[in-house]
């Protein structure tokens, strides 16, 4: 669905500068690529937390889910919201420092 962006990037004259992009409210799109269980969700969860981007109560929900699975705190649960995804996290990869 990013056809419009690809087209625009072929023409420097029309491409917004980062400042313009911010001013006109175009979101910055970031993609995380990695092998399964190598920490994509964990990294994103941690970034959302550290940038103060999570809604109130989200961390408490994650804590409850971790407790129910008998795990230490797991930032990946911010994204891995389905029960199966949470149960699949057999190896904790986050340090809750």
């Amino acid at each position: 669905m990013q056809k419009a962006n690809v087209q625009r990037s072929t023409s420097n004259a029309q491409r917004p500068t980062p400042t313009e992009q911010r001013d006109i409210g175009i979101p910055l799109r970031i993609v995380f690529v990695g092998h399964v269980d190598h920490g994509k969700s964990t990294l994103i969860g941690r970034i959302l937390h550290d940038t103060d981007s999570l809604p109130e109560g989200k961390i408490d929900m994650v804590k409850k889910a971790c407790a129910a699975e008998g795990m230490e705190f797991e930032f990946a649960f911010v994204l891995d919201a389905l029960l199966e995804e949470q149960k699949q996290s057999t190896r904790p990869v986050t340090r809750s420092s």
Partner: protein, 271 residues
């Protein structure tokens, strides 16, 4: 400098593209309409996509626990947008005594919304439903597709969802199955408000502050709670949302009834 297309223009174009793809691909479409803000944006976009008219029926699943003001809005908007409105109540469940007075919100939501939808879909045999869900509303909705298949039992197979590379969508369904077409997936709550403001889209007044409270999300009256707010116009609502740390659906009891409540509801066919 040539003005750039704004982010709202991009979202609008994408949604209209999805509407037209769906209209081309499916024979028998309906659009659930809750009269909430996202739903009304959906109607607006449908009219833009199809030259001023909504070319398929609009469906209200009436739980019988609707806010009277929402029903008033429904009747007004039906005339205003010239809608072919179908209203469905799960009377069988109500006669069995299913209700918020006696049952938990997950059970009632399932019976009066999802089962009602099953009943009306069996009657009209729609092969696609256009929904107004957004990825930022809820973690399970975040994993949705623009074209999201449901089997004949209404189940969402979230473990095996179709990829959607290069604008290629799941546009076929076997008998009894249907596809949920979701043009607003990429919109955020603030995007919806900015668009309502830009286009001057009619919405129920319950979203605006009265006596220090307003509804941020609207559902069944016994389980939908207003938030403390003095935001009485769209500028104030946007300013409030940019500052708040509270989730949009915090006032919707069925979401928070138990761990994974939304997953359980949605896997069985809830929007």
């Amino acid at each position: 400098m040539t003005p750039h297309r704004s982010h709202l223009d991009e979202l609008e174009n994408q949604s209209i593209f999805i509407f037209r793809e769906a209209y081309h691909a499916f024979k028998n479409i309906a659009m659930p309409w809750s009269m909430g803000k996202d739903s009304n944006v959906l109607i607006w976009l449908a009219r833009k996509a199809f030259f001023g008219r909504v070319p398929f029926p609009v469906l209200h699943i009436d739980t019988t626990y609707e806010f009277p003001e929402m029903l008033e809005f429904r009747e007004w908007a039906k005339e205003h947008h010239n809608l072919n409105l179908i209203v469905k109540i799960n009377t069988e469940a109500r006669e069995r005594g299913i209700g918020y007075e006696t049952h938990d919100p997950v059970t009632v939501t399932h019976e009066l919304k999802t089962v009602a939808l099953q009943q009306v879909l069996a009657e009209y045999k729609w092969d696609a439903l256009i929904t107004g869900i957004r990825r930022d509303e809820d973690p399970t909705r975040a994993k949705e597709r623009y074209f999201s298949p449901r089997n004949a039992q209404f189940e969402w197979d979230y473990k095996d969802q179709p990829p959607e590379f290069w604008g290629q969508f799941a546009t076929s369904s076997a008998k009894g199955e249907h596809v949920r077409v979701q043009p607003l997936l990429d919109w955020t709550e603030v995007d919806v408000w900015r668009y309502i403001q830009r286009e001057n889209i009619p919405i129920p007044q319950m979203y605006f502050s009265r006596n220090g409270k307003r509804f941020r999300s609207l559902g069944c009256s016994p389980i939908t709670h207003p938030i403390e707010s003095n935001a009485s116009n769209i500028d104030e609502i946007i300013a409030e949302l940019e500052a708040t740390k509270v989730g949009e659906r915090a006032g919707r009891a069925q979401d928070h009834y138990e761990r994974n409540a939304m997953q359980k509801l949605r896997a069985k066919g809830f929007l």
